[in-house]
Symmetry: C2
Subunit: 143 residues, 2 copies
DNA sequence: CGGTAAAATGAAAATGATTATCAAAAGCAG
DNA sequence: CTGCTTTTGATAATCATTTTCATTTTACCG
């Protein structure tokens, strides 16, 4: 399938004069095949599984490019590792993070988004992105 | 003034069988004298200014105690340093973070809090805390 | 009051994630 | 192809945070 994110990245690369490389293709493919909050380490391991030659530094560098290109976003959880998630055009999801088992439940709420817009407007603020994380115990962990 | 947070911490210390030490008193005083999002480094420097003997590790250790005691909360911004903010009993504030000048504007919104409770309930989730950060450009920076 | 066991501290080493360096390899325009 | 520039991979460096451990403090008990 021709992923529309690949197009996005190619356009970004072209506009920045970046060269097209095998490793960037691989890393983008692997990233697109993941779901939710991949850490660099996790992604690196997945990449290495099929392409042993690729270095960790390249994965770091490439993920930063994805963020610049607008197709990934950094998520800081409390495990000391920066994670990356997919940016979905138009929609935005937030997270319920279970501090018991580290499970992450995603949700969306239109009203909250609207309220954020109002708040921003009231402060003369131009929103670029946001992050809402709710910490607590999930159904299984609260026992 | 007898800060009510000191009482909170003393109760916590007592319940945990922690000993009362000079450095914990100092660090608590300095922390209480700060506003918004102090990094460990910043707090350490402030402490060292009046009490050169206190070590950085102690500041780290003590801040974690404050979090356990419920009077501080970790805030992860994108500058690679963990920051700590005051937990205000009952109320919770969120942040508008300007990506231009790094200014932080705090706000509160009762409706958003209520919506979060609803969402959590719907997922069988027991909320312990949450974090909402809106990134963008402040009035001066969006110019 | 000492005396003592347990906890806390400070300095320094260790760790873990991320970034910088740099020589070698790869992409691209001519 | 040729030559120039970007990208890469391996490794060293960096930065925040944690551990370690010998030494100092604290709390308690007689």
């Amino acid at each position: 399938m021709i992923h529309e994110k690949k197009r996005t990245f190619n356009e970004f690369a072209a506009s920045k004069g970046l060269r097209s490389t095998r490793q960037r293709d691989i890393i983008l493919d692997v990233f697109l095949s993941t779901h939710q909050h991949v850490s660099v380490e996790e992604l690196y391991l997945k990449v290495k599984a099929s392409n042993p030659g690729v270095g960790q530094a390249t994965v770091y560098r490439t993920l930063k490019l994805f963020v610049e290109a607008g197709l990934a976003r950094e998520v800081l959880l409390h495990d000391g590792q920066t994670r990356f998630e997919h940016v979905m055009a138009g929609e935005h999801h937030d997270h319920l993070v279970c501090t018991g088992c580290n499970a992450i439940i995603e949700f969306e709420n239109e009203t909250i988004e609207k309220l954020q817009d109002e708040i921003a407007t009231r402060h003369g603020f131009k929103i670029r992105s946001h992050k809402l994380e709710i910490y607590g115990l999930c159904a299984s962990c609260k026992g």
